[in-house]
């Protein structure tokens, strides 16, 4: 296992007080058979008919001052519901929540203000919802406008804003009002790339200032890097809690396992993927992607052993065949191509059935989706006996690594500090 390049050393925080506490929170929704019953119906059969839907089933967690919690889970798992309960927008059916300090919440798209109001008016309205006085908001106005980069549009009615602009404005207000606790629901997904980075940087700043943050996000990369802890919700239940890295990892493994199970059902063994050509004197009859223990796998962690086994069948005697493998990223980048000839492994001749094994001791690829080609050619590498082009999928998760890109490059850092100038 490769060591993580930089180990985040988060302070243990034993001495810091708990500022957010959710204690055994249960939440039901009424799923009306008919929405907005009329008085007549209500009078005729009492409250109109509805099913009870449990959106949260006993969720508990605590967040210490200055730490950041991520809520993850699939669509409809109850993340937003939990956040709304924290924000006092919804009331839990059972259990309780407690938040100390000024709360600023940024929930989903748009804030539901009157479309005729201008950006500037919305800033004031939004600020006063968060409990600021007019002069306090006025003092921060420039900061907010410059953060949102909406200088030109600040006096335009928000009905003419794009959804990204709207979110920028909301985010700019929410973080500039100096809350003690910030609740954020999936906003990172809306802004453009540069604004997303800006938001992330701002979140790091806020973290450094000791603010407590709860984020709901499907951007697992960001969750892993920003959050100290995470809670994984599934159908309203807590599946895992603990260090953000650990929880994200467990979650990803589960998702991949499920996907594997699903695709396994669809087509038994081989997936109909990519193309195949060749003259057929030798045929690749089976390809298996295995881990170090010889078990079939789809998901690998960076640094693990990956083995590809190719079964072949040669109808006649073939002299000096060349077996090859190519790895592409799913987005098309050709990462590596190699064969037995390049590796100076010459098979003199083959006939009948056999298996060729390709072994990568420590997979250097980072998180991503990849696809394998397996080929067998003549010794000149001009004539294809059998060529399976980009047919076999596998995925990589970076595990403990935080590196960006497709490759893990082992490296070391040194610091030579200059003499201090007087």
């Amino acid at each position: 296992m490769m060591a993580s390049i930089w180990d985040k050393t988060t302070e243990t925080g034993l001495d810091r007080p708990t500022v957010i506490e959710a204690d055994d929170v249960w939440k039901t929704f009424k799923v009306y058979k008919e929405r907005n019953p009329s008085l007549k119906e209500t009078l005729l059969r009492g409250r109109s008919a509805y099913d009870t839907f449990w959106a949260l089933k006993g969720v508990s967690f605590a967040v210490k001052e200055g730490s950041t919690l991520g809520l993850i889970g699939e669509n409809g798992s109850g993340k937003s519901t939990m956040l709304k309960i924290l924000a006092k927008i919804l009331r839990p059916k059972r259990g309780s929540v407690r938040i100390d300090g000024k709360v600023s919440a940024l929930l989903e798209l748009g804030a539901g203000f009157h479309p005729d109001l201008t950006g500037r008016e919305i800033v004031f309205l939004n600020g006063s919802i968060l409990g600021l006085t007019k002069s306090e908001i006025a003092a921060k106005l420039d900061q907010i406008i410059s953060f949102s980069e909406l200088d030109k549009f600040i006096d335009t009615p928000v009905k003419n804003y794009s959804s990204g602009m709207y979110v920028r404005l909301g985010f700019a207000v929410a973080i500039n009002v100096e809350p003690d606790v910030l609740l954020i629901d999936e906003i990172l997904a809306v802004g453009d790339e540069s604004f997303q980075r800006k938001c992330l940087n701002k979140l790091y700043d806020l973290k450094e200032q000791g603010k407590t943050i709860v984020v709901v996000s499907h951007a697992l990369e960001s969750v892993r890097s920003i959050c100290d802890e995470a809670v994984w919700l599934e159908h309203g239940e807590m599946r895992a809690e603990g260090s953000a890295r650990g929880v994200v990892e467990t979650y990803l493994e589960e998702v991949n396992r499920r996907e594997e199970a699903k695709s396994g059902q669809k087509s038994r063994d081989e997936e109909e993927f990519g193309t195949r050509w060749g003259s057929g004197e030798v045929k690749i009859t089976g390809v298996r992607v295995l881990d170090g223990g010889g078990k079939k796998r789809r998901l690998f962690k960076t640094g693990e052993t990956l083995i590809v086994e190719m079964d072949y069948e040669a109808k006649e005697e073939i002299r000096r065949p060349v077996f090859g493998i190519a790895i592409h990223a799913r987005d098309g980048v050709h990462i590596n191509g190699t064969n037995t000839k390049f590796s100076k492994t010459v098979f003199d001749k083959i006939k009948g059935n056999g298996t060729v094994k390709y072994i990568i001791e420590a997979l250097p690829l980072l998180k991503g989706n990849y696809v394998l080609s397996t080929v067998v050619y003549d010794f000149a590498c001009l004539h294809a006996y059998d060529h399976h082009d980009r047919r076999y999928l596998f995925n990589v998760s970076s595990g403990d690594l935080n590196d960006y890109g497709i490759f893990y490059l082992p490296c070391a850092w040194e610091l030579k500090s200059g003499r201090e100038k007087k």
Binding site: F29, K30, N36, P37, S38, L39, K40, T42, K84, A87, K88, I89, L90, R91, V103, A105, L107, E108, G110, A111, G112, F113, H114, D116, L117, E121, F124, L125, N126, S128, I129, G131, L132, T133, K134
Partner: protein
Amino acid sequence: MVDQLKSLFKYKELLLNFAKKELKVKYKNSVLGFFWSLLNPILMMIVFTVLFTVSPLRVAAKGIDNFPIFFLAGLLPWNFFNATVVGSTTSIVGNGALIKKVYFPRELLPISIAVANLVNFALELLVLIVFVLGSGLFLTRFLGFYKFLPILLVLLPILFVFTLGVSLMAASLNVYFRDIQHIIGIILMVLFYSTPIIYKFNPGMFGKFGIIYMLNPMADIVLSFKSILYGNADNVLAVPNWHYMAYSAAAASIMFLLGYIVFIRLEPDFAEEV
């Protein structure tokens, strides 16, 4: 409930902003904007004057001196009540998007509508007072005002609190029974004619039912407004009947308590019902 009322103080900035928004949205895209609040009563005055003193319709106003003022003195407080109740009824449902996304005490929505309408009403009252001063011997009028106008400082809060009580109740119940927003217009129309706004009221007029008639707090409130702004039957400014004042104050308090309690009981689930 007292705690809840106290916590509202933290949100006075938001309340003002909501009220401002209410006014702004109302006059958005209109050239004269805010002046409409002043212009409206002036135009009404002109229309009523033409209708009821010049046109053949004047027979309808026979026996009532200064009919336009008589009418406006009752119509303006009524309009405040009417606009606030109608606006509040849909205030929670209509702001669903906001309620689902941010927390603030939800009663701020109907309260801000009442405040915005109160500003309007105050401006209209000013215009009306100018008309009243011009509608008779200036000195007598002026002396009358000097004596009776301070009573408005009691009467306005009574009207405000009563209106708020009705509004809170209508706003919260409408979340659960949307029929209310449809039926409220009819109810208000019935109430309009059960209140002595357009016609002259005399206690004997309903015989034994006079008492029941006066149970409608708006009747008491409007009659009190008329005493101060129009005067008694002879158009001489007068002190309101203190029975009316006392009863409407009590009714307003009870209505407010009732409305607020219902509102508070239903409020926590608004976000999932709107």
